[in-house]
Symmetry: C2
Subunit: 173 residues, 2 copies
DNA sequence: CGTAAATTTCAGACATTCCTGAAATAACCG
DNA sequence: CGGTTATTTCAGGAATGTCTGAAATTTACG
């Protein structure tokens, strides 16, 4: 896997996007490289190609594995680890969304539930604020509930629905 | 607008979430405070309540205004600016999504288009990589196209569709 | 205008995150 | 085992991002 100008451009852009979404540049770049690579790559290869420290690659790969975006394979007669990214784009997207929901949205919902609970014995917080928190909680619960339902649908069904676009409303409504 | 323990908890959590999504803690905290506040607040009031520098509040409010999440109002007989956050949660969400799409997704699509274009005269990049880029581009174009359609739908229609959940598929399919 | 309040700018301090390189550990082979 | 290769850990340095406070600017009132 050579870093051709085209690949380089994708990798750099993806790294840039990563930092805007709370992922370190290295992690995002490695992910981009592995995503594009037709073959699994060794950590050494990645470090050399992207010109980043070998140790950095090691840590970043660990993180990508906890995100379930990257896995390890092996080649017979070779002791080194070969890394392989999830290639199905739809899969990549849902994996990332699932992860962020679990790590960020779900705890936020929990925090709002706690606040709503506490609010009952809380005389100093104005009612308008309590109401706003309640509305927020309701909204998030509705959104996450919807997301979970959607996630449970078979992909072809979902794709069909998406391709129908606004026509869905006409048929249903 | 007093910083009651409940409000404080929301503000701190929201600040935390902000930094995980590429927004500075101050900006996120100010947004949370303004979102919860029933009344518009002055910059001084915000600085005092959150114990952050007045200048920081000024810059953060500017950023929130470019995101169209916060606007200025005035009170007769008072020269100070009063700041007011968008209160409709649905509106807040779509405003944020629109902004991120415009700033991050659209440029990414453009980058992929450029790569796909360049790929035609590019002999060194393997075909498998070119194909992956093409697939990625196709996927993103489909997703953004769908998003734009959805965004154009009247909100009650969309809400109805969401509340139907998976039933939509049964009726349509 | 002159003055005072309100706001903004911005250089540099501070904090955080990220990355590196050396050392430690683990895995494997003969 | 001893030696070799692969991987991980981690302290500290580098880079980046964030925040502050003083000074400059703008705004509005008398």
């Amino acid at each position: 896997m050579k870093l051709t100008p085209t690949v380089e451009r994708c990798v750099l852009h993806w790294g840039e996007m990563g930092s805007r979404w709370g992922v370190s540049r290295s992690v995002a770049q490695i992910h981009a490289l592995l995503f594009l690579a037709p073959e699994p790559l060794t950590a050494d290869h990645i470090a050399e190609t992207l010109a980043i420290a070998r140790s950095n690659v090691s840590v970043s790969l660990k993180e990508l594995q906890t995100w379930e975006l990257v896995s390890i394979t092996h080649v017979i007669g070779d002791r080194r680890d070969y890394f392989l990214a999830r290639k199905d784009i739809w899969d990549v997207l849902t994996t990332i969304l699932d992860g962020r929901k679990r790590r960020e949205i779900d705890p936020t919902v929990q925090m709002l539930r706690d606040c709503a609970q506490e609010a009952k014995h809380d005389t100093e917080t104005p009612d308008q604020v309590k109401e706003r928190i309640a509305t927020m909680l309701e909204f998030l619960e509705e959104m996450t509930g919807w997301y979970d339902q959607i996630r449970g649908m078979p992909r072809p069904t979902l794709l069909k629905l998406m391709r129908m676009g606004t026509k869905v409303a006409k048929i249903v409504g």
